[in-house]
Every structure is written in structure tokens, then in C-alpha cells.
């Protein structure tokens, strides 16, 4: 294991530390390390992997997300507004007698209602997920660690943010080093 930090003459050396990052070789090691870090009392932590890992979010104490709720609300808004629009158009503002059908001919309105439910729910899913993730975010401190380029490839990372109440530059570093990572690096912010 190597401990890396920016060279002394590096301009980012003086910048405040965003956190401490440990690199692992496998998904299994990362999940185990995340569990241990959470059990050690660290709460402001995050883990990074090239693909979704079952149980990793739970390991860092993130159990529930609000995407489904946003999708439900989006879908309801889409469906209700689509039906309301059609009712208002066909029965109130622009009634046209077509073959003697009632103005409020609800079976014909189902299709557009259905399509707009899906449209609004689907857009809510994508936009909600992106917004809750805080994206687009062109700059993020974790990218300052050169090894992090492998986070989308075949390496797995765990970070303890310096904002964690238990964070201590020395003790956290030795704790992470005890998890047998490939390396521990300071993340300048």
C-alpha cells in the first residue's frame, strides 16, 4: 500500500482537504470496507464504482431514495392534466358534435391521458434522478485524485469527507489504511 499526497510545490497543496480516499481492487473489498467504515461511526462517506453494486448504498447508510415518489407525482400530474385538458377542450371551450357522440366522450380521452402519464412520469424519472444526484456537476473534488480516472473502469473507491464529525486527518487515515486498500489519498477540494 502506498500513501500519496500532492507534491509540496503543487498549487493545490494549500487548499483545504475535501476528504480521504481509499482505493480497492474489487467490489467485494469495497462493500466490506464500506460496512466497516460505517460501523466505525463515519456517516459522511461515499463509495464509487464503475457499475452498480448490490448492497453498496446500504453499506454506506443510504437506504431510500425519492426517485419513485417523484415519478409518481410526475405521472399523476401528466395524467390529470391530460384528461383535464381534453375535457376542457372537447366539452367546454370547443365542443364539436361528431356523429352525435357526447361531448364528454371519455373512452376516447383514455389514450392521450395514458400517453401523457407515461411521458411525464418518464421525464420525471430521468430529470428527478439527475437533479437529486446534483448533476450536471462539471467539477468535483474527487476528480483531483489521478487514480480516480479508474473509477469508471475497474477500481473501487471509498471516501470519508472532512465534514464528518469524526474526521481526523491522522486517525481517519490510519483507519482507512487498516482496511487494506491499494492506496489512501488526500482529496484536495
Amino acid at each position: 500500500m502506498t500513501i500519496t499526497r500532492p507534491a509540496n510545490d503543487s498549487p493545490i497543496y494549500d487548499s483545504p482537504i475535501y476528504g480521504l480516499m481509499a482505493e480497492f481492487d474489487s467490489a467485494q473489498e469495497l462493500v466490506a470496507a464500506a460496512h466497516k467504515t460505517h460501523e466505525a461511526g463515519y456517516r459522511k462517506i461515499d463509495a464509487y464504482s464503475p457499475f452498480p453494486i448490490e448492497g453498496l448504498a446500504e453499506a454506506i447508510g443510504f437506504h431510500k431514495n425519492n426517485v419513485a415518489l417523484i415519478v409518481l407525482i410526475g405521472g399523476l400530474i401528466g395524467g390529470i392534466s391530460a384528461y383535464a385538458l381534453q375535457y376542457w377542450v372537447a366539452a367546454i371551450t370547443y365542443p364539436v358534435n361528431i356523429g352525435g357522440r357526447p361531448f364528454h366522450s371519455w373512452p376516447s380521452f383514455i389514450i392521450v391521458t395514458f400517453e401523457l402519464t407515461i411521458l411525464f412520469a418518464g421525464l420525471s424519472a430521468a430529470i428527478g434522478m439527475i437533479a437529486l444526484n446534483g448533476l450536471p456537476m462539471p467539477y468535483h473534488p474527487v476528480f483531483n485524485v489521478p487514480e480516480f480516472a479508474k473509477a469508471s473502469e475497474n477500481k473501487f473507491f471509498l471516501i470519508v469527507f472532512s465534514s464528518d464529525p469524526n474526521y481526523d486527518a491522522i486517525r481517519t487515515r490510519s483507519f482507512l489504511a487498516g482496511l487494506a486498500p491499494r492506496m489512501v489519498a488526500e482529496v484536495p477540494s
Binding site: 452498480p52 448492497g55 426517485v67 370547443y94 361528431i98 473502469e153
Partner: protein
């Protein structure tokens, strides 16, 4: 995904990914096609050909906008002609992409991870081609926005009881959701390309598109929820789209259109032609780009089986149409059946039966399913057959309906053919660019298929 950790015994015949691959070799192999593979002479020549074909479309549409739809072969009684035939054909082809990406995702058919990306791209391009036809067919495409409900000075609103308005909503929703689904699936792979790219410009382009994706566990958690929900939403959507397209016909009273079997029969036909197009594209692409490790014979065989099954549903549809022609006792319906078999378009109908029902039966034999050459040929035949099916439905029914005084014939003009050939060019041009600009196989989803991506410990901790 925890339930997927054990590969079922039945799946061990041909693996989804050839053995010997790791997280990095998957990423390397797929992203190198985009990032470092030199542009070959063959690619450029092929691009010139398909791009020229796309320009035929531009010429055909340009002349159409000057002269109007009179340059087409459409007339009264056959007011729909090639425009609607091609619209239904293209939109049907798109359906396989959504079936692969959404329905097979919900059914946990993990083999779909190798083919969903380019099948979704195929969906987008096919729906784009489809959209051109009804737009052009309106005659005044620059006023097509009148189809949308918006407050306007004419004090006019669309008629929501019309299947043509339903179509606008179904197709535009379908395109939007397909695009969103595709883009959401691309985000982690764009981040992968960003991290692998060497040129700063390329890094920046993929970086912009990846929006700063960094693979955080929280992000993945929301991502997986959103992806699953999108799959769940796209599944009823794709079934609804061709249902609505079939309503364009079934809500009318023309013999051969006014039947309740149309929605399921159209959806099955759509998936049939869509899988045929997937095979027609996948077989050459995997050979050219050496992707046999990821698109294995198992994928091709599975696609062939889906084609066989949906082809049989389509065959059942034809059988039922014929049966109802006789059983309904309606003279117009039985005349339609006679007219298909003996009328002026009988050769098209015979070709249709041969292409869609007869020839694909060879797929029962494993020999044909595992031979890429045969499979490609059968898929191509199915594409022709499904095009003929739409031609028969549109043209034969309209050419001879209730009154002999309004019988007519339809002959496509060179502009019809140019528009059709042009959309094929447009579709292939888009595909041509896609394979070199974006990862055509989902890198991160393929990685989740490797056994080392599964964390067994997580399950133990929970217990």
C-alpha cells in the same frame, strides 16, 4: 441483482460473454471502437453510399414541398399509399429496441445487456424515419404543429376523438421516452469514455455529455431506481404505440381494418420486424467490429426464437382475418379475402405469406439459427414481408371497399420509392455515425454480468 448471482444451469450452453473478460477488457474493447480505432476506408465508402441515399430523401422531400403530395402515387380512393405503409413499417421496427431494453430488463433476461444499446439507437433512428412520413403526408408539414393543443389566434383545438391525434401523442411520447431511456443508459458509459479519452477535446465532449457522473453509490442507487421505473413505463408504452397505430385503421370502417384483432396483431408484427432489423444490423456489426465475445451466438439464437414466436402470432392474425372473412358472413369482408387472394395485388399477398409465414419456419431448425448467413437472409426476408403486410393492409383494403364505382388502383411513383429508399439511407447514416461516436454496447451493464461484480458478502451481512 442479488438473485442473479447463480447462473442457471440452462444458461451454461453458450455464455452471454465469452470467457476471459474482465472489467477493463470489456471497457477497452467497446470504447476503443469509438476512441482509438482508425477510420477505415470501408467505413468511409459505406458512409458515402448511405449518405448519398439519405440525400435522395432530401431531394424527394424538397421536391415534395415545392409541388405537394400530387407527385406521389396517392389518389382517391387510396389516399394513404406509401406514406402510411412506410410509417407503420418504420415504427414497427423501432419496437424491438424498446422490447429488448425495457421488457427484457423487467424479465431479468440479462443477455439483453449486450444488444440493448444499439437496439435502442435503432429505435430512435427508426422512429425518426417514421415521423417523416405522416408529417410529409399532411401536405403542409410547416403547419404540422396545429396537431398539438396550444392556445392560438384561430381559436381552434384538436379533436381528441380522432385516432390521428392519438397517434401524434403516442409517437411523440414514444420518441421522447426512448431518447430519455437511451440517454440515461448512456450516462455511465459516457463517463467511462471521458476517463479513457486521451485528447482533451474528446474528453471535454464526453465529459459534457456525462454531466460529471462519478459513480457514487448514492447516484447508482437513484440511477437504478430511475432505470427500472423507466423500463416499467416504457413497457406499456411500447405496447400502446403500435396499438394506437393499429387504431388508425381499426377505428375506421373499411373492410380489413375494422377488426378487434388489430392491436395485438400489430404489436406482434412490430416486434417481428424489429427483431429482424436487430439481426440484420447485429450480424454484420459484430463481424466487422469483432464483437463476437459480447454478441454471442446465444444472442442471435434468442433473437431468432423471438422472431419465430412473434411470426407465429402474426400468422395467427392472418388466419383469423381469413376466418372472420368467411365466418362473419359480411359480403365485404369475404370479398376482401377473395380480393387478396385473387385480386390485382395477389402477387404481393402471396409474397407476403411466403416471406412472413413460410420461409421463417426454417428457424425451427437449429442449423439455420446458428448460421449467421442464413439468419441474416431470413431476417431480411421478414423485413420485406412485414413491409408487404403494411402495403396489403393499406392498399388492398382502400383500393376496393364498398362501392364498385369507387374502386381504384395504386401505383407508387419514383418519388414514393425515392422517399422510402431515402429513409433507409437516413437510418443507415445515423447507424453508421452511431457505431463510431457512442459505445454501441452498454459497458457498465456488461460488467455487471461478470461473476466478480456480484457481492456475495452483502447478502450475508443482511441475514
Amino acid at each position: 441483482m442479488a438473485t442473479n448471482t447463480q447462473i442457471p444451469v440452462a444458461d451454461r450452453r453458450v455464455p452471454v460473454i465469452a470467457p476471459g473478460h474482465s472489467f477493463s477488457t470489456i471497457g477497452e474493447k467497446i470504447s476503443n471502437i469509438v476512441l482509438s480505432r482508425p477510420v477505415s476506408l470501408g467505413w468511409i465508402l459505406g458512409f458515402l453510399i448511405v449518405f448519398s441515399a439519405m440525400n435522395i430523401l432530401m431531394m424527394a422531400l424538397g421536391y415534395l414541398f415545392i409541388k405537394g403530395t400530387g407527385i406521389w402515387g396517392i389518389n382517391i380512393p387510396i389516399g394513404w399509399g406509401f406514406a402510411i405503409v412506410n410509417f407503420v413499417w418504420w415504427i414497427g421496427i423501432g419496437h424491438a429496441g424498446t422490447l429488448i431494453s425495457a421488457i427484457l430488463c423487467l424479465l431479468r433476461q440479462t443477455w439483453r445487456n449486450s444488444i440493448n444499446r444499439f437496439a435502442e439507437a435503432m429505435t430512435l433512428f427508426a422512429v425518426s424515419c417514421a415521423g417523416i412520413f405522416p408529417l410529409a403526408h399532411t401536405g403542409r408539414p410547416w403547419l404540422a404543429y396545429w396537431l398539438f393543443p396550444y392556445p392560438n389566434t384561430m381559436n381552434y383545438w384538436p379533436n381528441f376523438r380522432s385516432p390521428l391525434v392519438w397517434d401524434v401523442f403516442a409517437v411523440s411520447t414514444y420518441f421522447t421516452i426512448s431518447l430519455v431511456f437511451w440517454f440515461v443508459g448512456l450516462i455511465p458509459d459516457l463517463a467511462s469514455l471521458r476517463d479513457r479519452a486521451e485528447s482533451p477535446l474528446v474528453q471535454r465532449i464526453y465529459g459534457l455529455l456525462a454531466m460529471g457522473w462519478r459513480g457514487s453509490a448514492r447516484h447508482w442507487h437513484r440511477y437504478e431506481t430511475a432505470y427500472l421505473l423507466l423500463a416499467g413505463l416504457a413497457t406499456p408504452l411500447v405496447l400502446s404505440v403500435h396499438t394506437v397505430v393499429s387504431f388508425d385503421f381499426a377505428v375506421g370502417i373499411v373492410p380489413g381494418w375494422h377488426t378487434t384483432i388489430f392491436p395485438p396483431y400489430f404489436v406482434a408484427g412490430a416486434i417481428y420486424s424489429g427483431f429482424a432489423m436487430v439481426l440484420c444490423l447485429a450480424i454484420p456489426i459484430r463481424a466487422i467490429y469483432g464483437l463476437q465475445d459480447f454478441i454471442t451466438m446465444r444472442h442471435l439464437e434468442n433473437a431468432a426464437k423471438v422472431m419465430l414466436a412473434t411470426g407465429l402470432i402474426v400468422g395467427y392474425g392472418y388466419g383469423m382475418e381469413a376466418f372472420m372473412g368467411w365466418y362473419s358472413g359480411s359480403q365485404f369482408d369475404s370479398f376482401l379475402l377473395w380480393n387478396r387472394l385473387h385480386g390485382p395485388y395477389r402477387l404481393s399477398y402471396m409474397a407476403l405469406l411466403a416471406c412472413n409465414i413460410l420461409i421463417p419456419q426454417v428457424l425451427w431448425l437449429k442449423k439455420f439459427r446458428v448460421s449467421t448467413g442464413w439468419l441474416w437472409l431470413v431476417s431480411f426476408v421478414v423485413l420485406v414481408g412485414m413491409w408487404l403486410e403494411r402495403f396489403i393492409i393499406v392498399v388492398v383494403s382502400l383500393s376496393r371497399d364498398f362501392l364498385t364505382s369507387s374502386f381504384g388502383m395504386y401505383y407508387p411513383t419514383k418519388w414514393d420509392w425515392m422517399t422510402f429508399a431515402g429513409t433507409i439511407g437516413m437510418f443507415l447514416t445515423a447507424m453508421w455515425l452511431f457505431v463510431r461516436i457512442l459505445p454501441m454496447i452498454s459497458i457498465f451493464e456488461l460488467r455487471t454480468l461478470l461473476p466478480e461484480s456480484q457481492v456475495h458478502e452483502a447478502a450475508e451481512v443482511k441475514q
